[in-house]
Amino acid sequence: MTATAPTAVPRKPVGRGRVAVHIGCLVALLVMLYPLAWLLATSLKPADEVIASLDLLPGHLEWSNYKTALDGVNDVSIWRLLGNSLLIAGGAVVGNVVSCSLAAYAFARLRFRLRGPLFAFMIATIMLPHHAVLIPQYIIFNKLGLVNTYWPLILPKFLATEAFFVFLIVQFMRGLPRELEEAARIDGCGPFRSFFQVILPLTRPALITTAIFTFIWTWNDFFTQLIYLFDPDKFTLTLALRSFVDASSQSAFGPMFAMSVIALLPIVLFFLAFQRFLVEGMASSGLKG
């Protein structure tokens, strides 16, 4: 590597090195995607093979798993379930991006009393296992009359309760040179304009990351949806697919897998749609034309 250094001003990786990277990546992918292939294959297995068989490929293709899954659960159509999931995940994305970036800006770039202790407190809030606060939180939402609505799933996101994302955005904002705002300030920008016009656009990779993670994590968050939603009309795909499995009676693992695959599609699309924005950082101005 070091041998080519002095002459290689416009960096051009050696062709062979690039091939090696590709081969390495492909091999790693083969291993990593194997369980996913398994999941796909299992969604087409007949009932007697789903658990008992340890072969990758199904004996014959059982498309009825998908038919059962597409019929929905408990008279609620799959479209309704999908819509509910989308609504919750979409609301959470907006909430997290807005509220976490606001809070992060204050922590990263503004000075105020108690900044240190408050920041420490914020980090501490993710250290307490959430099982310990589950019941008090439930009682609060119940007192507010919000149980069996989507509020307990969305409202916390608008109040920046996920310190993970606040901290993430803080780290990205702290990585931006201070001169950016100084320059803006000289041009007469207050904190609000410099936030919206200078800092926010430059933090886009972090905001996109926040959006992607929030969408996926909210989508998959079985437990919160389970305890706060009562009415089957409000159920989500994630809840519905679990109702195929009941230890006290007959489970339908085949349809459960089929529904997992169906539930996966929207998050795959969301990821594919948003991941390309990840490259739009500051680096795009230079090398990565």
Partner: protein, 314 residues
């Protein structure tokens, strides 16, 4: 892509320490609280209040159904002196942290770096490597994982090692590998961090005659350090609280022979299965202190290796 040219070029040079006129202090202080207001509201109502309740409960005997009654430090003394399973869960969790965190971070960083300068197929690889993380720890993942690591499953067939999930000595590794397998989140964060490094810094370094390794050490590492630090802190915190992978792989029981009974799984078991919410709350607060100490140490060391452009020279 061209839209971001302007601020990027105004950003150079990054290391001067000049400080032009500042706004009046009070105004900026007020602005800060405006930005913080949603967080403050959420922190008080949805975080501080429940945390205070759980702290109180940790000094009580509370079975969920009848009013809690004060027992002082009994939960804590019982935990430390009378519950061997508690101590086993502590060591299990520490082992898990030591296995899972470095492996996951190394993999995420390695893949992110490999993809960084890739010209073709970057989007494809990024998506493909992220794919396992899309699933979370759902029931279907749990079943797939158990099939792969079962007796006669793929791993057994390839290595002839028997099924890992059924061996007390190996099951925790299967749990850790589930976490490592889903390394998409730290990878994406690394990629986003790498994207933020101004290309000009590399160009300047190349002009100065720095080779690839040198560029990595003197540009990538310091510029990526805030993100590296973030991933390290967050993955460590999350690893201490690991729940879903252990729950999924062991079918919720922490078996075989308690080998995957990690801290929060045992906490959950005490609180929600056995209905000793007071005891579970005490466990939660001890964990908070453990994680707090570890995190504080990480923050302390960060002063020596994390570089923030906004603070100029460290």
């Amino acid at each position: 892509m061209t839209t971001t040219d302007i601020p990027a070029s105004t950003a150079r040079p990054p290391r001067s320490t000049s400080a032009p006129a500042r706004r009046p202090k009070r105004e900026r202080e007020g602005a800060a609280w405006v930005f913080l207001s949603p967080w403050v509201l959420g922190a008080i109502v949805l975080t501080l209040l429940p945390m205070a309740v759980s702290l109180y409960l940790s000094f009580t005997d509370y079975d969920l159904f009848n009013a809690p009654h004060w027992v002082g430090l009994r939960n804590y003394t019982q935990m430390f002196t009378e519950d061997p399973r508690y101590w086993r869960s502590v060591t299990t969790t520490l082992t898990y942290v030591v296995i899972a965190v470095p492996l996951q971070l190394a993999l995420a960083l390695g893949v992110a770096l490999a993809l960084k300068n890739m010209r073709r197929g970057k989007g494809f690889y990024r998506s493909a490597f992220y794919a396992p993380s899309l699933l979370g720890a759902s029931m279907s993942v749990a079943l797939v994982w158990r099939a792969v690591f079962n007796d006669g499953g793929t791993v057994d067939n390839l290595l002839g090692s028997g099924g890992w999930i059924n061996k007390p000595g190996w099951s925790l590794l299967a749990v850790a590998l589930l976490t490592v397998w889903q390394f998409g989140a730290p990878m994406v964060i690394f990629l986003a961090g790498l994207q933020q490094i101004p290309a000009e810094l590399y160009e300047a370094a190349a002009v100065d005659g720095a080779g690839k390794w040198r560029q990595f050490v003197s540009v990538t590492v310091p510029m990526l350090s805030p993100v590296l630090f973030f991933n390290l802190v967050l993955q460590t915190i999350q690893a201490f609280q690991v729940f879903t992978p252990a729950f999924a792989v062991s079918g919720g029981k922490g078996g075989p022979a308690d080998s995957t009974l990690v801290y929060t799984l045992y906490l959950y078991d005490r609180g929600f299965v056995a209905s000793h919410m007071g005891y579970a709350s005490a466990m939660a607060w001890v964990l908070l202190i453990i994680i707090g100490v570890v995190t504080a140490v990480l923050f302390r060391t960060s002063r020596t290796w994390v570089f923030y452009a906004s603070e100029g020279e460290r």
